[in-house]
């Protein structure tokens, strides 16, 4: 049997709207994942420290503050510097399509905007983790 996928869901930045993060956390739990909820106002440094201690395979960030072009690349860079370059970084929020494309080019995974399907998110995460796990097995 496949071990459960461990995901860290956190909400960096200053805005306090954590409903989206909570809905996503509950949906991923219902999809059979173990979701570590990192809470509000986490700094990129704290998020990466949590991800390392929890040894998650996925970090999902909810960003509604408009700071996505700073926060996603910063978390990605800190993860890579810590040797966690195999961790999938994904997330969502109010993010223009052009920004999503730019972030995807900088090593951030797929991002999900308002109205995105939760099933689609779970399927995406499962697919990415499966791909990484089999790559690690054959390495």
């Amino acid at each position: 049997m496949q071990p459960p996928i461990r995901v860290l869901v956190a909400k960096p930045g200053l805005d306090g709207h954590d409903r989206g993060a909570k809905v996503v956390a509950a949906a991923l739990r219902d999809a059979g994942m173990e979701v570590v909820y990192g809470g509000l106002h986490a700094t990129p440094e704290a998020i990466v420290e949590m991800a390392l201690q929890e040894d998650v395979e996925v970090v999902g960030l909810s960003i509604l503050s408009g700071a996505h072009m700073t926060l996603f690349p910063k978390v990605r860079r800190l993860l890579d510097e810590a040797g966690a370059d195999d961790v999938l970084l994904t997330g969502g929020g109010i993010i223009p399509k052009a920004d999503m494309d730019a972030l995807a080019r900088s090593g951030v995974g797929r991002l999900f905007g308002p109205g995105a399907s939760l099933d689609e998110l779970a399927t995406y995460i499962r697919g990415e983790v499966e791909r990484r796990r089999s790559a690690a097995r054959s390495a």
């Binding site: 459960p4 739990r29 219902d30 994942m33 173990e34 440094e45 949590m50 390392l52 201690q53």
Partner: protein
């Protein structure tokens, strides 16, 4: 079992204080990866330095908040290194889990002296996960001075934490008087120290008396464990609680009770491992599951006792055939 280079390297990194290596070794343990058992054989002899404290109590008693407050206290009072294992339940339906204890420990997230790991129960029912003891071993190997093991919110019978720790703290809160009534038989007998949390609320004093009454009824001539009031939020009573915990452990180290408890705990872990292996041996490898389905579908007895006896006879016969009975 032989220890491979990969395992040896990871273990050495953990021993030298590498938190990321510890996190990876924990994942091996949680996944029951054979590499963990092999690695464990290599480092088991060096374990036993860390103090293991169990923090248990009903949902809403303030366990996570108390864990955070204790960590902050010890980090500032004597800078000891800490490890926290926070267990939350897995859903029996989806297998998923929402591990939310970190939200109440956010003040610790940037202190490298505190390693926090969230665990899901993954089908275990005793208040902890199957691998909680293994993860505590990894924190011990990482050199942590004190390990706090926080159980799921418990009812009456989830007392596994007692067999996993040096000392068990039961956290209760005012308004939980009925809880005490319900707990008299299980947890109330098991704890080494009782904490009345939320002492800033009314009725805290009354709860202290109710606990004392319940303990007097139960304990007979045994020494009555301390009851301490704290407010994890305001910090009132925390230094006293931390001191009491250290003092209890010092006393038990000196009089030999700690060593006896650790021996019992290890024996109980071995029994659990053997139990799990015997179950797999019987139901999966010896095919009892299929046998059960066949016998229930066929004609004959529907007495559960007769069916069980028949299955056990079949199991013994198969073991004898293989020559290992």
């Amino acid at each position: 079992m032989s220890v491979t280079v990969e395992e040896e390297m990871l273990v050495d990194r953990v021993r030298s204080g590498d938190a990321r290596a510890a996190a990876r070794l924990m994942t091996w343990a949680e996944r029951a990866d054979a590499r963990f058992a092999e690695a464990h054989a290599g480092f088991a002899a060096g374990l036993g330095h860390a103090r293991r404290l169990g923090i248990t109590g009903p949902p809403g008693a303030g366990k996570s908040t108390l864990v955070e407050a204790l960590c902050k206290h010890w980090r500032t009072s004597d800078a000891r290194t800490l490890g926290v294992l926070a267990v939350d339940p897995s859903s029996p339906f989806s297998g998923g889990a929402l591990l939310g204890d970190r939200v109440r420990m956010s003040a610790l997230s940037l202190d490298p002296g505190v390693f926090v790991r969230s665990m899901a129960t993954r089908g275990a029912f005793g208040g902890l996960a199957r691998a909680t003891d293994d993860l505590a071993d990894v924190l011990d190997l990482l050199g942590r001075h004190t390990i706090l093991v926080e159980t799921v919110g418990v009812g009456q019978s989830e007392v596994d934490v007692v067999r996993s720790t040096d000392l068990t703290v039961l956290v209760l809160h005012p308004g939980a008087g009925d809880t005490i009534q319900a707990m008299k038989a299980g947890l109330m007998e098991a704890a080494d120290l009782y904490v009345v949390n939320k002492s800033d609320l009314p009725d805290a004093e009354r709860l202290v008396h109710e606990i004392a009454d319940a303990l007097d009824l139960r304990r007979g001539d045994r020494e009555r464990p301390p009851v301490v009031t704290v407010s994890a939020v305001t910090g009132a009573g925390l230094p006293q609680l931390a001191q009491t915990l250290d003092r209890l452990l010092d006393v038990r180290t000196a009089d030999g009770r700690l060593a006896r408890r650790r021996t019992e705990n290890l024996a109980s872990r071995v029994r659990r491992l053997v139990d799990a292996e015997l179950r797999r041996e019987a139901w999966e490898r010896a095919g009892l599951e299929g046998e059960l389905v066949r016998r229930m579908a066929g004609p004959g007895t529907l007495s559960v006792y007769a069916l069980a006896a028949g299955l056990l006879a079949a199991f013994r016969a198969r073991a004898a055939e293989r020559g290992d009975a």
